[in-house]
Subunit: 406 residues, 4 copies
């Protein structure tokens, strides 16, 4: 169990943005003498990580660790979730949820390597991310202290203005980005947007302002495009016949999908911490992959197995959204899921056009689709079989209906 | 229990098409002296019912009953299913499944009124529809004989050529329609297409050839359109502010949705009778309604209720697909669903563009969305609450992870 | 939202025991000038309530409200849960869980009647009961302050010794009961025991010391006894043919069951607040009712309905255990459950002997049990029906197994 | 696909009883020239198999194969089901269901070895067993013909009298057993009884007449007995500290349990083929194992994992009951289950007395039970943690209740 003493050395999840930059000097003031390790994870968030090392040192970090986690992220986190076909509340492909446990697990690793006694993050006290970070810390390293400035009542940098002023005062380089309208989180799998007009559930989001990885459908090409994804055991391995490592494959699909404006959703979702909130998500590559995976599962997975998997995965998606990646239930479910996906090998085609990704075909050496059975031809089919099936299948309902009437 | 004697009077589900037309004289030959009641249901299948009465008599019917069931179909069958938000295998909105029990229930009614001792249908022995018809007959009238020529080993009219020849010989009017490429079923909720290239799971369907209620996305307007649907207790009641009866509302949305090419899916699905088959479905109005209903549920239904409903509805969709509309489990589930939808009142906006229908906003007097809670503002929020929550929420996982390591 | 000011008038859930008695003067010290309403609920907890009014005044209460809630408890709380057939973690019949929301709801009622601005309870910060009380307060009266001394860091009466000393000092009547070995909670439905050797999961409980409502099986009569329970729509209405109000019926069954030592379980359960704990439960009457209700459901409820109900009720039991009685999901589930129990009318016989209650028969006017179908006689049964059933039922599994082998 | 020609060589599931004995000469008459392989499986059904080989030859078998499957049955069929903790309809421990797929799978093996083109069984057309046999045949060897005389309309030996007469005529040795009152099925795991008064759901079974593996509770010892079962990864490995192979362990527990009359249930259950039927089951050893396994799981399996497993296993039990042991869904579920049972290692004590088996304690090196957390001691516990937990856990319900009132 973590003690209540002040931390001596903290590994902080560091993004290079204003929010986590001001936390560095603030922690130095809050815990005099504390050593700070800024940990930055390359998860494919775009240009954000440029110069992150220098910036961290300038902001007060004693050590800086940058890790390129893109391959691990794609293959060890996104792919298992894709095999599950996990979707939260019908429309959210879990892009932020799936990244947090990886970052937190690596922070723990860095804490062990650098002899730190604490880990910390800059997530607020009203959101899901604090839970995702901290559950992972607790599961993997219950002895480490957890430092979360936003939940510290003495933390006062709660709006952009205070943060900029504080940064100025402490000589922290402020990104010369245009004023951020939305609160965003980006990685190789997706980008999320919250805040501004998105917070009003009856307002259409300002797509022009927020869309980042994708174009608005109106600006997508007038010509549709079909992309073919190859799978082995439920894992994507190639695009249009070209084998690729996980992160490269995802990047390639993000580009194709982004061009056609696919993978954008807006939803009012239920946070783990109890309130409803609204977000816009762009998941271009992931959306193509889900559509392709669905097409392939349709021909490779047996009916009752597929139906039960759908049910099980609702809970799996909850676990991922709730930050419980390292939960024994998630792990046991993964064993179920991976068993069902052992034969999900083959290719699927997805058509992209003006904001929609739609599967249009799939084939597999393990297909369960039997054209002879599927067709209307009655050749070789016992026309009397259905009679007995219906009689026995319908018997309980028939008896129940009669009892009701008597 | 139905006896084994030959039927004396059969109420046949009659569509006016070639398939059911030839069944009339065939039944007369098969059961000499039998009386035939041709029952045709107006479910919004378009022009198919024109002249159906005359055609039936010419084909050998002794009585003809035509019923306009569009309002009942929309409000008593489609709406309960919409409140459930039932979807079979992720993509099928159950358009054929939901219509069969209504037709069969009305056949039973007609049998009672006309003193018939049998009901019959022209569905084949390999498909789902035979089950849907017969389960309903069995549930509502177990004493009636079930006549299903396609499952009669002496039935020989199993292809179009034999049927046409037989029709010619018996003076049955043959519809001068162009050669049917696909096997189709249409009603106010949808049209389905099976057969031809659709039977090949790796082939993209020939959209130009099959699409009927919708245009291909490429031919949809370059301008998007937003439609606003009003709901009361989960039931759609207005479009763009104009109150409408169920069937009119559905027809209006079919037109709008069809124009924008929305609501088209293709899937390899699992039939109840065991094989996989592939179909194309067009559900323009239904797709808009599902998207609008989802948006409204997101703000009106509490989290754990919404999550459990998602799970329950997977089973509900199975029941509908399996033809078990009059099943006590479907009825008990409906009680659950209707309870959850008691506050689903308000409006939702859906944007239509080039084949995609996407919710972009919703509002409700019963909204559970609290802008103050949803926002990033920490004003009035206890920043320390999350600490205790995470500690206790995460405790079981933390203890389990530690035990694993020992 | 409840304000942070000191409470002016508190309605305290008061049991008359030492624990809640010392809380009265303590609250007066903690909140100078506060008015205290001691609320005691008669739930059939035995002799505990004798003299409770006098004791409360002596302990410092300004007002005392005692309500006899036994009938409401039995019929409006226990019966709905019985219709659900809810069991937590296979063995706990939820006796404490089901009583808390009723007490809390009545406290809110009393608060409204007496103009109080706060409600309070004496449950500790490690258990489930605090959650059950407070969730109900929050749901029904979010404006009321919640006072929970055990979670107040300034509360120091955390063990029996401090409490006795404090009581002495404040002139509070101390119950001259023998030293309590176990922490117990009793009502008409059950009694629970925690603490002492029960806390050691590998130790057999000291039955002689803890059993209260039941005799140890070794001391039960050598003669078995059969009790017949009558039900209407899933609700018990008579015992051995004699109609009774809910609380009388429960008391009668407790006596019969207690005599035969039935309804005792010990289990290591999972608390909502995250840890595992172990308890002994005595639920003699409830156990008989569950067994009888099961027997009747077996003949009155259709198969797939019964199977789905079993699954749904696992979640229902969680909700009850977690204190979420007034949760919209519990209410929607109740609609489902009550629908399934509309035909659960009839009688069931339960045999009691040396610690075991076992159903031995049931009958109902709505029985779905058809002796002709159940028997081995093949008379009137189509021996060929099963052939078609098995062929189609088994088709997906057969195809899947073949695909695996290729 | 199996052809429609007459079978040339049939492997028949042969029990040595009258029912399957008469089938041998009957098959010879039905299919002139057919070769018959009588396959008898030793599953611990008691003395029934004595002289089975001789009897089979006398009855007309051309080849006889007897296999001792007791170890495989216990360890590869019963144990996986025990790890699942599968129970059908609350009370049936699936003793017949679990044996059929093993027998059928071995028949297929024997068919391959002996060059047979058909497999057959003597189960009737109204029961579950025909499905269990045939689904396994279909899954493992779809090319083999299935011979089921009871579903052959020309089979006339449908009652005991006809069978005895036929046996006499064909010189078949008739077992000199007393007249069988009940239809029974016995193996190492259980014995089932159907027929006679058991078919009347309101009649208490005649225990004296039917009980076989157990004594009636009234005749059990007046002294209780505690048995300790050791488990490794969810599999029982020892009794009272003595390591045993699966079938020996089961036999030992059957004896101990039988002596105390434990493991007897009677229930009206729902058959797969649609009707309700009623049976008495004796599962003495299995009941002890389930109770012990439950006790150990309670301390070794994390809460949410345990809760989800309970739900999943309802479907697993259906699959076993429905004869779908070789179903891909059962196999995927087993992967889930085995993952959850990886830490279910330790010992559990079960107390046996007059018909009841009751767990009274368990211990494990992987226990998640933390006495410090479980106790009422608040030492080292953050009394304020629960506040935040309740606030956020209860937020959705609170908001929903408020919305309802507006």
């Amino acid at each position: 169990m973590a003690s209540n003493e002040a931390p001596k050395k903290i590994v902080l999840a560091y993004s290079g943005g204003l929010d986590t930059s001001v936390i560095l000097p603030w922690l130095k003031e809050r815990y005099p003498g504390v050593k700070l390790v800024a940990f930055a994870a390359e998860l494919g968030q775009g240009s954000e990580l440029k110069g992150v090392e220098e910036k961290a040192y300038k902001s007060g970090a004693d050590e800086v660790v940058v890790m390129d986690l893109r391959k691990e992220f794609a293959e060890q986190y996104c792919w298992p979730m894709l095999r599950a076909h996990a979707i939260y509340e019908q429309d959210y492909l879990l892009g932020t949820s799936i990244a947090r446990p990886l970052i937190a697990a690596k922070q723990v690793e860095v804490a062990r390597q650098t002899g730190a006694d604490a880990v910390g993050h800059g997530a607020t006290g009203k959101g899901n991310d604090q839970v995702r970070f901290e559950l992972t810390y607790m599961a993997l390293a219950p002895d480490l202290k957890i430092i979360a400035p936003w939940k510290d009542t003495s933390f006062e940098l709660r709006d952009r203005e205070s943060a900029i002023e504080y940064a100025d005062k402490h000589g922290i380089p402020i990104p010369v980005s245009k004023k951020k309208i939305y609160s965003q989180d980006r990685n190789l799998w997706h980008i999320s947007h919250e805040g501004a007009e998105i917070e009003h559930p009856d307002a259409e989001p300002n797509w022009e302002a927020c869309l980042t990885m994708t174009v608005p459908p109106e600006k997508a090409p007038d010509q549709s495009e079909i992309v073919e994804v190859g799978f082995e055991r439920g894992n994507p391995v190639s695009v249009n016949g070209k084998a690729m490592a996980g992160h490269d494959l995802l990047a390639a699909l993000n580009e194709i999908g982004g061009k056609h404006g696919v993978g954008v959703t807006v939803l009012a979702e239920n946070r783990l911490v109890g309130m409803k909130s609204r977000g816009v998500y762009e998941t271009p590559g992931g959306t193509i992959l889900y559509e392709a995976h669905k097409a392939l599962e349709q021909i490779c997975v047996e009916r009752d197995t597929a139906h039960f998997k759908q049910q099980l995965v609702l809970r799996y998606a909850e676990l991922v959204y709730y930050g419980q990646w390292f939960h024994p239930l998630r792990e046991a479910m993964q064993a179920f899921i991976d068993h069902t996906n052992a034969t999900v090998t083959g290719t699927a085609k997805v058509k992209l056009f003006k904001g929609r990704a739609m599967q249009v075909g799939a084939k597999s050496p393990h297909t369960l689709y039997d054209p002879q059975l599927a067709s209307f031809s009655m050749e070789g089919y016992d026309v009397t079989a259905a009679r007995g099936f219906i009689d026995l299948f319908g018997l309980p309902m028939k008896v129940a209906q009669q009892a009701k009437r008597w």
